[in-house]
Symmetry: C2
Subunit: 480 residues, 2 copies
């Protein structure tokens, strides 16, 4: 995949590498800075592995103060910075640059405070997503957003990309579950935004910063909402003779007013791969499968699942299977959560991430199939159907350069389609380098200019996470 | 109340009034512009009636195009603009200025599109809050945020202030219920933000604009979420021997993980006034009353109310009364929703609006009583307890200038207290002129400078809604 252009690095900065490394070691300690080639190579890509760049150096700060010291130094010396969590970005959001320092917050992973009376937890941003729930699970609480990479990905990355997950249909995405942030600006100034209360004061900088993809500063701490675990939860499987029927069934469930915890969609290729991996009991003869999970008391769960089965009936489900207990539920979710990995074992894939108005789901599924067929490629669909967040996986052979380019072209067409039907370019994976050049499809010149002027407010010299999010050709607004 | 300073108007602009009015009449038609004194007087204040200013002229545009034409003209001629919905702002957010044009969107009140499959409605911003629910009620849907002024207040004002309401405990505030906006910038450019899908693309400009108090542009259209009405809902009354016990009970309900639709709090003075107005059956001998509403099926409602009664038991409720049916429920809510009006019949009052972390509620209630007593003033407390959004009403005599100033002083102390315990200055009423000078209590110089630089991105000449939100002394950043 070579469609995306990356800018030429600043050779002047690269020539000063030794001095810069020495300065940083003096400022924050040699153990915080990685400068040898092997050490840096571990940070040369993220989960969009087709693109790699060796960073100038890597910093692993242990405190907000150290982050502030490094950023102030970089600003004073005109050095670019790439913020990094666990490097699980699927859009190249954490791709380094040869003239940039990578600052990873992965060593800042402590739980600082748990407050059940206010239902909040204050944590360092390098904590993994799952570790937040882990810290409160014994008391029956959890942190809601659950990206598939939750075992590895950090809250810092979730904040940068406004990550979602299967269960966000009911509980919302990251921005709906964060109450406060501590962010270090490029000047080294530390700003606290929001706090342990609902509604943020002043402009909604909290909302603005969540999803800003490392363009505004480096978040080092966050206060997140924790929620009480439901009494119980149970998934059901609904298998259909066509993707269109499954799509119409999703719309009908949502239009009925029921809000399940999750409605996940898999088409036949995805079902087969996931079943062979997880032995979840997925039906193999259907064209499309929905996993619908509801929660509550036993009585509520039963009533809701019965009602959903009723709603599904006009779409002629070939399978209706309610999980028989905790074991089966775990297997059903294991298959879904491991889907990307399972598909990765049989083929290279390019994972798309667009959202659409839910009512357009059936026609969009048909169009995705057509687009991929036109490019001579197979596609597996597996995504959060309930909130209209699509993840078509375009299958291709990475050793075949022509095929790789066709995969990128098909992907771009799919995302343009999402915008055309009234949706958007990215649901939860972010823009990064991947969708940077598609931003002009979504946004007018006025829109983009406005966003870039806001970027300039936070980062007047455009040193933070360079060459991401905005088309390279768009004129950078100058600082005031 | 004269504590808040307003800037001297620009006499040069006032001198050009006749020319400006003629220009505007030529551009958008004479029937859109109000220029006579009687007509303008109807717009000289909002619900913070202690402050009045006669506007230069008033425009009542009928379309986005007309709004754009007026804004472009004002920008080209350096004329300030105050956006207005229904003028129900409690913080002076819509207070005019003698050198500013008021642009009210109240004539733009059409429902443009209702889409049940996507559960959205597209409306003009001048529609009243209640009219949105009215448009979809026949099909069993509603628009969730429900400020007490919902009969009169416009969505435009709700968007400006990020309004909440009694039922926002479960459904969130305005920002959680809006998916897309059309906003006219000061240049006359029209920008569309978000759309009929979850998660906004690019930076979260949608979140940024909601709650920006008319500082960024004029919103003319919005796509809002509509929700399916619950099967049923029922309130219960819980009366306690002290405000502290009631406060502790609220914390216990929330900490249990139950999310009622609403938990409203009234202290004794509020109970008596509201009961004499609404004959709702509120107990008159208790010190504090909670209205707790839950919704769902009959069985769910009964189970939840029983569980809440159990949770309340350690706080020794003197009254536990479950509504017997629709009539009684309506009366119970009528008392609460009419509270401000009912109190206004017996005294002038200054309505505060702060939020606190819920766990601090009991001690904050004690401190509010102490602050008001110190200033020799009575206070009635009536507010959204479930989400920690307080509305103490400080009672005073507006004809007694010294008392009026003491009321403002007590109010400022209460808001500082909210910030001190980790809360914030405003829950849903906004900053406007009222809390402008308290912003330095909440925000550091760095915070404020950042917010003001963002304001400059949208409105480089600072023509929109002047002298609101930011302390007058804070240096205005120049445009790039």
């Amino acid at each position: 995949m070579t469609l995306i252009k990356l800018p030429e690095p600043d050779q002047g900065v690269i020539a000063r590498r030794d001095v810069i490394v020495k300065d940083l070691e003096r400022l924050v300690g040699a153990d915080v800075i990685i400068s040898d080639e092997d050490g840096r190579r571990a940070y040369d890509t993220d989960a969009l592995t087709a693109y790699t760049r060796m960073p100038l150096a890597v910093a692993l700060p242990r405190s907000t103060d150290e982050v502030a010291t490094i950023l102030a130094y970089c600003r004073d010396n005109g050095i670019k910075v790439v913020a990094r969590g666990a490097g699980t970005s699927l859009c190249g959001g954490a791709l380094p640059a040869e003239d940039a320092i990578v600052i990873s917050v992965s060593k800042m992973s402590r739980v600082l405070e748990i407050d059940y009376a206010n239902r909040t937890a204050r944590v360092e941003a390098g904590i993994t997503n799952l570790a937040i729930s882990g810290a409160v699970a014994k008391d029956g609480f959890f942190y809601a957003p659950d990206p598939s990479s939750q075992l590895a990905c950090t809250l810092a990355g979730n904040l940068a990309m406004n990550s979602g997950g299967a269960h966000c249909l009911k509980y919302g995405v990251t921005t709906n579950n964060v109450l406060g942030l501590k962010i270090v600006l490029m000047t080294g100034e530390v700003v606290e935004i929001g706090g342990a209360h609902l509604d943020s004061e002043g402009y909604d900088l909290l909302g603005l910063v969540v999803g800003s993809e490392g363009q505004f500063g480096i978040v080092t701490e966050a206060t997140v909402r924790i929620l009480r675990c439901a009494e119980g939860a149970r998934p059901m499987l609904l298998g259909f003779g066509s993707s269109e029927a499954a799509g119409r069934c999703v719309s009908a469930i949502i239009a009925s007013g029921i809000i399940p915890v999750a409605i996940e969609f898999m088409d036949k290729p995805a079902i087969h791969v996931c079943e062979s991996f997880a032995k979840a009991g997925y039906p193999l003869d259907v064209e499309a499968l929905l996993i619908v999970e509801v929660e509550g008391s036993e009585a509520e769960i039963t009533a809701l699942l019965n009602r959903i089965a009723e709603i599904a009936r006009p779409y002629r489900p070939e399978t209706i299977l309610v999980s028989s207990g905790a074991d089966q539920s775990a297997k059903i979710w294991k298959g879904r959560k491991a889907a990307f990995g399972a598909i990765g074992r049989i083929s290279d894939y390019y994972c798309m991430d667009g959202t659409i108005p839910l009512g357009r789901l059936p026609e969009v599924l048909v169009a995705i199939a057509r687009i991929c067929a036109t490019h001579g490629l197979k596609v597996a669909n597996i995504f959060h159907a309930g909130d209209g967040n699509l993840h078509p996986l375009i299958l291709y052979d990475a050793n075949d350069a022509a095929q790789a380019i066709r995969a990128e072209e098909a992907g771009a067409e799919i995302l343009k389609l999402c915008v055309e039907v009234g949706g958007c370019l990215t649901g939860e994976h972010g823009v990064g380098i991947e969708k940077r050049d598609l931003m002009t499809v979504q946004f007018s010149e006025t829109d983009l200019a406005l966003q870039m002027r806001i970027k300039t407010v936070f980062d007047p010299e455009w040193l933070l996470n360079p060459a991401k999010v905005f088309p390279l050709e768009a004129p950078r607004p100058l600082a005031a």
